[in-house]
Amino acid sequence: MKRRKIDVRALPGKSAEALDERFQAATPLRRLLNKVFPDHWSFLLGEIALYSFIVLLLSGIFLALFFDPSMREVVYDGSYTPLRGVEMSQAYNTALHLSFDVRGGLFMRQMHHWAALLFMAAIVVHMFRVFFTGAFRKPREANWIVGVLLFWMGFLEGFAGYSLPDDALSGTGLRIASAIMLSIPIVGTWVTTSLFNGEFPGDVILDRLYIVHVLLIPGALLALISVHMGLLVKQKHTQWPGPGRTNENVVGVRMFPGFAAKAGGFFMIVFAMIAALAGLFQINPIWLFGPYKAAVVSAASQPDWYVMFLDGSTRLFPAWEIRFDLFGWGDGYTIPPIFWPTVVLPGILTMLPMFYPFIEARFSKDKAVHNLLQRPRDNPLRTALGAMAIAFYVVLLISGGNDVLADKFHISLNAMTWAGRVGILVLPPLAYYTAYRIALGLQQHDREVLAHGIETGIIRRMPDGRFIEVHQPLPLDEHAVEGDGHHGLEYAGWVVPKKMNRIGALAPTVKGFFYPIEKAAPTPKPAPYDIGVPKREEITSDR
């Protein structure tokens, strides 16, 4: 029998043809490969969140193989001697087992936790980028809303996650969560008993949180991320204004190979950072906290950073309780103070950002499609509002750790609380005003340079004795009419060169890190200053 020879070199082509016969993939595949991505560092922030999410999925699967969320009481008998013989839930027991008796388990646990912290941080910073550049404007309002939902989903996922190990800290967090649910008018007690299957802590909450943490919310996150990415591909990226860039095009590199290589490399770097953090920096050392006991708490009980702002709002809110009678029906009713900073405030903080694109469009009467980004300075109102929101957030965040600050810096705890209460009212308007003025000032300076040129640093004395600084006007474009009184360039909302070396007055820096890898360009000799005076000669004694 004759063996059929396989032509190895024709194999890729043949298989590609076979695949295309079945899937007709040639056109859509090429379209994908040719998709153009604009390039700017700030567009990478969202990618950090995406990559952290991938790390979260992978490390989470590993943890799930060892973790058991059961609240059954067991006696610890693992390697960690200080806790031996202590009664604890099976959840805490397996979390300890993961940390001490699984090879590399602690590393994976810390990787999961660090990735979660980074995930939320990247989401927040990415959100700032999108907000301050106006990338949420039409047609991208829907994707902005998906982004806001992603933040809150991540928030819940993180909370559920750090509640699972059932150490003293997570139990305290859960207890506060139960108090928050209790505070909801009318249905509060029903919601709490239903969720906890009775009074806190009950015996089912961890099993329920577990399925929420490993299935329901990750599923929702995956779905939302898919929509987020899908809309991004459909609507294409925004881009900064600049030469050749219009509202109708995308200028950049194609997905393959340029963008894919950069993104792949960046993924590895994000992954590297998470791995390094996980190995070198301890996070959530649950064995130091001990198992959760309702009577035990330690000072400096702080949630993870992304929950801290709500902890801060809870600390700052005054003890304003509403008690009333419903016409003698029942024994009287209560709306506890904790309801406002933990239920109402997050509600506002969800709705307000979600509707912000529409609110802004309505007030600015702007119905146009925007694919070009705005620099923060070019929309002072939005920038100021954003700065105000950040100031509000930061006061809450700091107040979430005010006991630690009070302790470490020897400040009165009550003074810290009052500083937060005053700060939350005073600082946001101040931030608004400051940001507004800075934005206007930066804009003004750009306009100045466009009208009069770059400051050269050369001071010249005029014949009448005045001193002026020489300005180097920027080259005019061809449309400008000489001598129309309005000389200078059109304001384009993009970077204006403000130093002489930005317009080529100085040679570019020589390349090379420790030693030059190229020859430096010859220093340009200043042109002889020709003012019709004969060349000076060396003064000699002429003897």
């Binding site: 040719n34 590393f107 509060g188 290589a261 950069k262 490399g265 960046f266 309702a294 708490v297």
Partner: protein, 365 residues
């Protein structure tokens, strides 16, 4: 769009041997609405010093990736990793296990990432491409056609003509939807009232939980407490002396038993409110440890000022004045547990708390 480009596509012969591969790339991009306006190799002359240098750097980075990856695997397998196992040297090396994993994996990934990025920035051709956007609504005709299709669909159902069928469908679907909801609601919803009592108003101190007898104050290990067990100015956490009283099953019951100094005890007696009458036994008071704000254990007791601080949100309670909140977000006083000493000389709670303990809720008066 397809109709517009069709004639051009016919003119283009992809198998024309005179075309370079890049011509094909450009044509492909053009069909995808992408114009490659600038495409220049980084090193037009092969084998220059600069190019060689980049190649060496890349080689070094990827070698480091391999080296660090190997180091990770070796460390993972061979380095002492087990807490509290092995001999002295094993335990001396153990603390470096996780840092080693982090450092080696981090460096492996970092060099890989930097290598790939260097590759793309230094070796891949410099490129500027422009892709057209197709924003704005669909073609007016398209909109009309789709709208007609959808409206037609609705009309075909004939709900306008056959109102009865629609109503019947709704009447059938609503219970079915309710059925789906009912399973969820019925299995998860639990009423706050259990056995005729609202569980938020009772704790483990309820004599009913002890066969009708007053519940003893006990340590965590279940041993009862005598007055002499608490020194003057001291405080201990006590639990109801019933089976499982110190476990999280009675998470609402931890109580702080405080032995006040004489003058503080007198002050407390002077300040006592109606609800706390006769709760104090000599110089001993017992207050719920569960903060009325968010339910954390309010356990930091400042002896000099007789203030109790909750470490979660810094609510402060004045013990000598009915544990009234004096600072922070808490709005209600800590409930006082009425205590006395039984015939055998041990502390007992004469009754359950007279008001609900812990964070407030809607039905709480």
């Amino acid at each position: 769009m397809t109709t517009q480009t069709a004639p051009e596509q016919e003119q283009f012969d992809a198998s024309d041997p005179s075309l370079t591969r890049f011509d094909l790339v450009k044509e492909g991009a053009r069909r995808d609405g992408v114009e490659i306006v600038h495409y220049a190799p980084r090193f037009p002359v092969p084998g220059t010093k600069a190019e060689k240098r980049i190649e060496r750097v890349l080689g070094l980075m990827f070698l480091l990736t391999g080296l660090m990856g190997t180091a990770f695997v070796v460390a993972y397998i061979a380095w002492p990793w087990h807490y509290g196992h092995g001999d002295e040297t094993y335990q001396k090396l153990f603390p470096f296990y996780t840092p080693l994993l982090g450092a080696t994996l981090g460096l492996a990934l970092l060099t890989l990432g930097l290598g790939i990025i260097t590759w793309s920035k230094k070796l891949l051709p410099e490129e500027v491409s422009i892709q057209e956007r197709h924003d704005g609504p669909s073609d007016r005709t398209e909109q009309r056609l789709t709208a007609a299709t959808i409206v037609n669909m609705g009309d075909e159902l004939g709900l306008k003509r056959r109102k009865f069928v629609g109503l019947a469908f709704l009447a059938g679907a609503a219970p079915l939807g309710a059925a789906a909801g009912a399973v969820l609601v019925g299995s998860l919803i639990k009423a706050p009232k259990q056995d005729g009592e609202n569980i938020f108003f009772t704790t483990g101190w309820d004599p009913a939980k002890n066969g009708g007898k007053p519940v003893r104050l006990t340590h965590e290990d279940g041993t009862p407490i005598r007055p002499a067990d608490v020194s003057i100015g001291g405080q201990i956490t006590v639990f109801p002396g019933i089976p499982g009283g110190a476990t999280n099953k009675y998470g609402d019951s931890p109580t702080l038993l405080i032995h006040l100094r004489e003058q503080d005890a007198q002050e407390t007696l002077r300040n006592v409110k109606a609800v706390n009458k006769d709760s104090q036994w000599q110089n001993f008071v017992a207050y719920s440890k569960i903060c009325t704000h968010a339910g954390c254990p309010a356990s930091l007791y400042e002896q000099q000022t007789n203030r109790l601080l909750c470490p979660c949100h810094q609510s402060q309670f004045q013990i000598t004045d009915n544990a009234r909140p004096v600072f922070g977000p808490a709005s209600r006083a800590l409930p006082q547990l009425p205590i006395t000493v039984d015939d055998e000389g041990y502390f007992v709670a004469t009754s359950d708390y007279r008001v609900a303990i812990g964070p407030a809720f809607w039905e709480r008066p």
